[in-house]
């Protein structure tokens, strides 16, 4: 970085070569110190998750396993809630993903391609509400609504609420994808006599596949990690997803079972980290992943 070549002639009043070298040395030193400190800041809290799951007697301290074992993972089976909660998380994530993709995709397509009266107002209202109404700000009516609908303590209640929150952003992202597809693709097919269904099947869907994949993963990661909504809407520990169950493991009184928490925490974290890295590599998830939150 920076111009390395020595200047053949220095402007009058410019610092001497030695002063420049010294300044650069100090700058480098400050730069590396900063990088090391920031690296440590991000790495140290994570170390525990890397070591403790493989330690036969983990403590809260992060250190290489004193007695290496893989036994913590089979032991998860002994806990009645651990593995079923992962299954719950999977069901919630997949169901919400299916619902969001199935409703947001046609909506995004229509909003991108057809000049519906009031379209811009609709888009503005959607954008506004989706950023204003968070799960936290609306937890009271969400709780009451799901309660009145008789969906408290059901997966369906959680799925519907999460889907309602994610659909607007999903529509915007998918609309970007459809907007980027030349209209001539569909027009050309129409001139050749393709029906609307054929156009969707042969041209639009194959073209939108990366977009659908990105949205799908984005929804999955969001739901998989979401704590608040299942936390307020489920009461029965057998129906809780991993996000809530792991919280119960460490928030309930008594000595926390660190073998359970560490191995379960790792198992619960790996899928989203892997998903993110894979999708990031394939589709350049960076920005879209950014809407996690």
């Amino acid at each position: 970085m920076g111009p390395d070549a020595a200047m053949p002639e220095t402007a009058p009043g410019a610092p001497s070569a030695a002063a420049i070298t010294a300044r650069r040395l100090v700058g480098r030193l400050a730069f590396y110190t900063f990088v090391v400190v920031v690296g440590a800041f991000f790495a140290l809290p994570m170390l525990w998750l890397a070591f403790a799951p493989f330690d036969a007697h983990p403590t809260l301290a992060a250190h290489p396993p004193t007695e290496f074992t893989l036994g913590n993972f089979p032991d998860l089976l002994k806990n009645p809630y651990a593995l079923p909660s992962l299954l719950n998380s999977l069901v919630l994530s997949l169901a919400t993903m299916a619902l969001v993709v199935a409703t947001a995709a046609p909506a995004a397509y229509a909003l991108s391609r057809v000049r519906i009266p009031g379209r811009d107002v609709l888009l503005y209202v959607l954008l506004l509400f989706s950023s204003v109404v968070s799960g936290t700000a609306a937890m009271v009516p969400i709780f009451l609504l799901v309660f009145e609908l008789g969906l408290i303590n059901t997966q369906a209640g959680v799925v519907l609420v999460l889907a309602g929150g994610l659909i607007p952003a999903g529509i915007f992202m998918l609309k970007d994808f459809v907007d980027s597809m030349p209209t001539s693709y569909e027009e050309s097919a129409r001139v050749f006599g393709a029906s609307p269904f054929q156009i969707l099947r042969d041209i639009v869907l194959p073209h939108a596949r990366p977009g659908l994949a990105v949205i799908g993963v984005w929804v999955f990661v969001n739901v998989w990690s979401n704590f608040l909504i299942p936390f307020i809407l489920t009461r029965d520990p057998g129906k809780m997803p991993a996000a809530v169950v792991i919280y119960n493991f460490y928030s309930e009184g008594g000595q926390a079972n660190l073998r359970l928490i560490s191995s379960f925490g790792l198992l619960y974290s790996i899928p989203v980290v892997v998903l993110y890295l894979v999708v990031n590599r394939r589709y350049g998830f960076r920005f879209y992943g950014g809407l996690k939150g």
């Binding site: 991000f42 170390l47 525990w48 509400f129 950023s131 937890m139 309602g164 990661v221 792991i246 996690k292």
Partner: protein
């Protein structure tokens, strides 16, 4: 846009509407059918709750007792009660400090700095650092919360070990600072990625021109980079402020304590509405949070519109 409207079938086109022509064979009627399911879900589970919050905040609704069966309209009493409750004032203050500390200074400050030093720096150490920051953001928050409980533990915590067995009870003595640092750790990646994207839109010729004129790194940053990506930075700032205002995850570490020291507005709402079941009062506080969100969101949309 009432929920009722979204559920009724598509209204017939006004006769004067010009014939629809476009890329697809979809006409307005078909388009409405395409949009309706998404709109219905959003109307029922997003828009309706927001409007209901405003109404509930004006009642003494509770989940148990007489008020559950027959809630009374009590006007602005809930808001008066909130203003009279020192815990509400405390909660608002805690939230502001939390947002300013973790979003504005922590995430945006650190995120931009990282994006700036990553620009034009290739190599393994950069990749490792970048992945660390991103993984911190990807790990589910209920796991991250426990990682920080462990990291900050008084006796065994890694932080105290690094500081030479200091045995500082971080979560007890410095609770607000602790959750600010925790949220910085967890959320910096977003700002880093967004700032990195903004910096990459800057034409290299702009910086090269400045360098030829002899501008230092700092001068380039101040005179060229910051003014050019001001819009991106502002967008980013508004988004992360919005999210941090509504962030529930400090609850996972401190549950609002000790002594309400980390009781942000979301936690205050949760405790009043869903622990003590004062739904009307909780809804009134929620309405205040919604208004805060609305202000930030309106500014955000204005900035977006200006940028386009």
């Amino acid at each position: 846009m009432s929920p009722r409207e979204a559920e009724t079938p598509a209204p017939p086109l006004p006769a004067s509407a010009p014939p629809e022509a476009g890329a697809t064979a979809l006409r307005t009627r078909g388009a409405v059918a395409f949009i309706a399911p998404a709109l219905a879900l959003v109307a029922v589970f997003l828009i309706f709750p927001a409007l209901w919050t405003l109404y509930l905040g004006l009642t003494d609704y509770r989940l148990t007792g007489i008020q559950a069966a027959n809630p009374q309209f009590i006007g602005l009493d809930n808001y008066a009660a909130a203003l009279g409750d020192p815990r509400f004032g405390n909660s608002l203050w805690v939230t502001l400090v939390y947002v300013f500390g973790s979003a504005v200074i922590g995430q945006l400050g650190l995120g931009f700095t990282l994006a700036w030093i990553f620009r034009g720096w290739r190599g393994a150490s950069r990749t490792v650092l970048e992945i660390l920051v991103i993984v911190a953001w990807i790990i589910p928050s209920s796991v991250v919360a426990f990682l920080w409980i462990a990291f900050l533990d008084t006796h065994d915590g890694t932080l105290n070990a690094v500081l030479g067995n200091a045995d500082v009870p971080w979560l007890f003595s410095w609770p607000l600072l602790s959750i600010i640092v925790f949220n910085t750790w967890r959320g910096t990646a977003f700002s880093m990625l967004l700032c990195g994207g903004a910096l990459s839109t800057l034409p290299p010729s702009h910086l090269e021109t400045a360098r030829l004129a002899g501008a230092s790194s700092w001068q380039q940053l101040r005179d060229i980079v910051l003014p050019s990506i001001r819009g991106h930075l502002l967008t980013n700032l508004l988004l992360i402020s919005l999210w941090t205002f509504n962030d529930f995850s400090p609850y996972l570490i401190t549950a609002g304590g000790p002594n309400f020291g980390t009781e942000t507005l979301p936690i205050y709402i949760f405790r009043n509405a869903l622990t003590n079941f004062q739904l009307g009062y909780g809804a009134a506080i929620s309405a205040i949070l919604l208004v805060i969100n609305l202000v930030i969101a309106l500014v955000y949309l204005r900035v977006l519109r200006k940028r386009n």
